[in-house]
Assembly symmetry: C5
Homo-oligomer: 267 residues x 5
């Protein structure tokens, strides 16, 4: 962990990542609910919203679409990922080098580590290479810290999420992206475990505006520094509305009610 | 994916690859139907047809035969491949480096990825190395995107082909070579899933002129950018006739009937 | 093994390492007994005590907290480690390179080797790389020498600990960190087996002051050169008291009673 | 495959390799029939016969004996090989680099690939490295192409040998060393399958002069370019006699009867 | 194999290696019979005897003790080795690079290869790297050639030892260290199989002076070039006496009786 508040990944020390790696991780099935959501341009467009501190995509999307958005969007290049056709123990392919990420304009990088998988050791060593290369390129590092696999019975138990957050600190990530551990108290424990590493919540599947914003509010109240959100933004007909509300909750630390009222007023 | 329309792989933004790696992948048995088809010179000769934007061969054929054709044929060097004597989970050996491919005259490279195989992760990481080396050499990258292995029950299901096309986009291929998913609608879905990455159909085993051209026509109508064809060309007594017809369907967007009429008139 | 008495790791030829890698190895559960013990700053603070010759932490803690303590604390960077979510044969990920450790201020490095694990050979080869890189950077090397895994029935048997100590000598470690073999005589044998390599005891879980100091005294009397201690320091409300006493036992070679009397007088 | 007729491996476009790697592959048991045959100097001496275009040995024999013969013998360094103590799936160790082979005087290199083994992919990738390094050193490459292992029921079936020959062409070998497929017609098919890559027969175990020469004659008549022979030369009391006869069959394309008559006359 | 008679490893073309890697390979249990034998200084002292052409130790012992003996002892650095806690198929960790061995004063290197183990191929490839690096550093290479593992029923059968000796020659070792095959005739066969590679006997566990010297005498009479001896020297109260006798048998080619008489006279 190094100071990253002055990098494009942060705004007032907070982070809102718009994640759009679902085409690799889940496949086109994730785009079925909403026609056009398979088009990366639509999500890059959403990422121009001032609430979004960075868009997280794989190398191929960055190469093809980022050149049209480089003045308006910050690029977090996700360095590894795997299709859900994979049937083995949780693992993921490193499909982009840090040097190439920097070359195509990334201002931060992301990396998944599945603690507890029987590929944990290999993944942590790959993370080491990426983390040290990121340091050499002055790029912040976000760890998708998702304990999973043979060693885990419940991957969102509070103790698991606190361990996930601590792993990110111990291994040198600047931001830990973790799942929601079920309560504000559990999130507080995860945040304390992460020390100086910023904790952001992983957004999960689509829910109602109010429920979603409430969980984000809990994260902020618990000392979390923001959110990495995907489907809850780009699976909506109007990504702007929810981004307006998220901006209030995360950066203005508004209540959920005030945030929704504000967002409604922008329509 | 990067812009490739100005490279030798494309003609008017379309692609027609004449594939001749069957000697490695299937063995000499593929040449049995037609005496002389085992001679690479015969297929290099066919590749001089203006409809063919590139010939796809393995390193050994390129070294031995391309020097005689380098003024008239564009070389797509297929970087990996495996004999069908292999009995393990789908996998493939990287038998040529990108630097060497460039040295012997390749103007684009090809790479197989078997999504869903228990070698998927290793293959994707090998693809990363090839893709980034190709970028350094300004060579377009074609992915033979063939989900296969323990994770797949049906490797031509529409959802599988759409996922195959998306994988090519996400991982940074410029062209996705996929199998035909069975209908024009399914091909349209695959093309949409691939975003800016061009989708071309993999030709498959030899069929009648009309049936073959109809499936190619469907691909073009679905937004596909062309074809990678092997046995349907070089297993025919007269490769020129079918190439004349393919040229009409792909580059002139003619109907199948018009294309056949045109081709017949060239005899 | 090379002469290290003039390096920051030693004081009068003795060693007292304050180990704080438990967040990685055990997870936040280790911090439960004492609120605030999860905060690395608290343990870095404790490490400013003159008895502590170095603090041992993983890369991430070093990056985040060491810059504030570099004038008052010596950094031993622990180069490998693994979460206890790992269910396989004992193994550990190399999560920091020696060059990067040197860059962020380490004045020595630590490395775990599990002799007898079915990963022993791989770990010893990783140790080789680290040890030779440490030589090139003039950094002393501490081996956490913990025989463990399929080859071991009892990992604190005297013969096991003596073998552990000898492995450190044979493989080129400057300091061998071993578990207490149960008696002073057994520790003497381990020390003799280690030749010129310094032997330090691994502290283990928290016990009473008197019991803990007595085992440390045994180690010193047996020719051991000190201690690597974690929970027995930072899990106490007042780390200073036990560090005062340890300073007497290790560097002044006082009796346990005198050491405790001295420490009490400092309060 | 590149043009190699002007290299020391060839004489009039033909090849006669005297192979003496049996000490590694089979062990000293192969030398039992004939006292003194274990002495490499004896076979190097035989290799001074003008019929022999190169001697094929492992690195150790080349280092120890080639300096005495470098004016009179051409060295084909066999880059991989394995003892028959090995009980696993067919595989082989790369025991010499191409650069070192060049340094000790090799004018060509040899490499075994077991197509169909579950080590096929690894071997083909090792072959790639050797082949490209050989190109950089301007050294012809001979592939010992021996399909073998889990994928093979019969490793001398005509279809297997034709596939073996084709693999050598596809992967970039200049010469394919294959077993005799049982008939001249089958050898012709293998030769056609190999395209511009020269096919030579692997000599096999010792037989009578007439039987052996007849099979060599079949190979030449089938378009093969020669022979790699071991035991049929150095297990004989008088290697010169059979080499005289082979010279007639291979380079003069004599009949077997004429070749034997010629050889007898030289005694 | 290259000429090594002018290197420190040899005296009059013969070799006497004092091996002291037992602390790694067997553990401290080997030192139990004789107090003080665990101290490397005692064996380094013994190695100053003029009969000893080199001492063989692991990296750690060389680093710690060789600086005090570099004027009086030649260092053979043993590059690999493994604890006997290892329970898998025979294998060994490469724990020192050749470059580092040269840096700390080695004038030759040693390397174990277990032919027939299911790690044979990996070990032979590691040997290749070491052997070629040794050539670049002008260091002779001694192979501990010990067929062992799944492929072996009897690891001292004459045919096994002859194969072991031949492997050393084929793979490029200058000296083959093999076990005694049980008879002088068998040793002669092994020596013939090794060609120009020098064969030395591996000393084995401690026996009586006369029995030990008789087996050494057999080796010399069989054409062997010496001995690698460990426990038969440093487990004795007086290493000098047996070294005096060995000097006579190996370098003066005395009878056992004369050698013992000479040694007794030196007391």
């Amino acid at each position: 962990m190094i100071p990253i508040d002055d990098t494009p990944l942060c705004r007032d020390g907070k982070v809102l990542i718009l994640a759009y790696d679902h085409g690799l991780e889940h496949g086109p099935v994730d785009f079925e609910g909403l026609d056009g959501s398979e088009d990366p341009a639509r999500t890059f467009e959403a990422a121009t919203h001032p609430a979004v501190t960075s868009i997280a995509v794989q190398k191929g999307l960055a190469e093809a679409y980022y050149p049209s958005y480089e003045d308006d969007v910050n690029l977090l290049l996700k360095l590894n990922g795997t299709s859900n056709l994979w049937m083995g123990e949780p693992d993921t392919a490193v499909n982009c080098t840090v040097d190439y990420a920097a070359e195509i304009g990334a201002s931060s990088v992301g990396f998944t580590v599945y603690g507890g998988s029987n590929h944990e050791i290999e993944m942590v060593e790959e993370f080491r290479d990426a983390q040290e290369a990121a340091r050499a390129n002055d790029l912040p590092v976000v760890m998708w810290s998702y304990p999973r696999g043979q060693g885990l019975k419940n991957d969102t138990a509070p103790s698991t999420i606190s361990y996930a957050a601590r792993l990110a600190l111990e291994l040198g990530a600047d931001v830990a992206k973790v799942k929601y551990p079920g309560s504000k108290a559990a999130m507080e424990h995860a945040v304390r475990s992460a020390g100086k590493t910023k904790v952001v919540m992983s957004g999960g599947s689509k829910t109602s505006d109010r429920d979603f914003l409430s969980s984000v509010k809990d994260v902020i109240d618990a000392g979390g520094k923001g959110l990495a959100v995907g489907r809850n933004v780009w699976q909506r007909e109007d990504p702007t509305h929810i981004l307006d509300a998220l901006e209030q909750v995360i950066f203005e630390e508004s209540s959920v009610a005030d945030a929704l009222e504000y967002a409604d007023a922008q329509q």
